[in-house]
Symmetry: C2
Subunit: 260 residues, 2 copies
């Protein structure tokens, strides 16, 4: 049987430990191609590079794995992988991560990791974004690997509802303490900013973005609940941002007329 | 009666004609504060600036309007406006644009204009992103102004369903030919990339992103249909990306166990 073709990318950059762990998992399941940013791209969201040329360089980072680093954003990586690197080949699965740090709840919209997975889903490629709830460089990705592989196999076997991707977040726990996986919804949480204001050597002010994550959505069907209770959260996510429930309530906009 | 406080931003930069038109419209309705990028930020999506300091400078660009330019992304602009510039004041409405070019359908996820509006909606500020279907610098924003003002008034009067924003796209037509406004859903269209490959002076390859917009979603309830038929499209959009319909189909993930 032909091995599935798996595209691996991330937003922490091709040299991050998280993507190394993901490559190790993916190569047990299929043929792996890596196209990842040449530098950290956290917080890039769904940014694309329009006004600048993009570089793509073949590199040797992972033993026996064809790999490319790209000067663009995570979304650029997926576009280049599909259109240049793997031009004539069908990609069976795209996995992004493993991110150093949570992409649960509202973090999905800021996350380059998840935006890369979403871009693949737009191209009808089944895709998963993985994140571990540990921001440190030395984060232990080992415990999550059996689950990461199980989800890759699941998606390869079942496919994904067209236009969807999985947003998978993993608690930073030993394997024995992970209770399993839970399909859930994105909690309605948000960031409260606390800009750090300082002065440069010339006395001019600058601001540095910082903040704290605030969740007031305590329902048991959310990703935050799952993670706080020892589960891996699995949220099917999509790129159709239409708020269908809100449509009816604003239908009277259709009746607004402008006197001519 | 106290005038409403309106925050104006965009992604084409503070010097673009589109934001000037929006400021002109907004100042007929309320007190206007501008916080916009100091350079073009198209395609930035929901990117935020994490690894660099952000500059915020008071500038004189619009007659009698308090204005700031920001070195960050459109989302950074909204965060700085709320937390630094307007710290102790309640923002009644955030408007972003008017963008030079369409943000209909899937363009919403790549758009800095709409991400700025979405960021405001996360902060429970009613918000609207406006875009005109004309990419040129000399685009004629005049025809759309009565509609732009009507929508601002509508949202100020009715508020928005929490977590929603309006994605408003305007056909490039004279006022007399605009048929009105239509509340609709995001069409299921996408971009097909065509990277331009070239060589730099040292013979090294680079790629430049280009592509064409492909829509196969011909339903009459979509934004693309509305725009092609002379209407202004109004899509209520949201930041909850959970694909609720897909949840049931993947519930068996909950049963996956890892042998220990």
């Amino acid at each position: 049987m032909k091995k599935p073709l798996i595209l691996v990318t991330n937003d922490d950059g091709i040299a991050a430990p998280g993507i190394r762990s993901l490559v190790e998992s993916a190569k047990e399941i299929g043929e792996v191609i890596v196209v990842a940013p040449d530098s950290p791209q956290s917080g890039m969201g769904h940014a694309i590079t329009i006004d600048d040329p993009i570089r793509l360089r073949k590199v040797q980072v992972f033993e026996g794995i064809e790999s490319y680093e790209c000067s663009g954003t995570p979304v650029d990586c997926v576009k280049l992988a599909k259109n240049i690197v793997l031009k004539d080949r069908e990609i069976d699965l795209c996995v992004s991560g493993v991110n150093h740090g949570s992409n649960a709840s509202i973090n999905i919209i800021y996350s380059g990791t998840l935006s890369a997975a979403m871009e693949a889903s737009l191209e009808h490629i089944p895709s998963i974004g993985f994140s571990l709830l540990d921001y440190s460089f030395d984060a232990d990705f080992e415990a999550s690997r059996p689950y990461v592989k199980a989800l890759m196999r699941y998606v390869l076997q079942h496919g994904m509802v067209d236009g969807s991707l999985l947003n998978v977040n993993i608690p930073s726990l030993p394997t024995s303490q992970i209770k399993g996986m839970r399909v859930c919804r994105q909690a309605d949480a948000r960031w409260v900013e606390e800009f750090q204001e300082a002065r440069d050597p010339r006395g001019q002010p600058y601001y540095w973005l910082t903040g704290r994550f605030v969740n007031d959505d305590y329902e048991e069907d959310t990703d935050i609940w799952a993670l706080q209770n020892g589960y891996i959260s699995v949220v099917p996510s999509m790129h159709d941002l239409t708020n269908y429930r809100a449509m009816k309530g604003i239908k009277d906009i259709n009746q607004i007329t402008i006197p001519t």
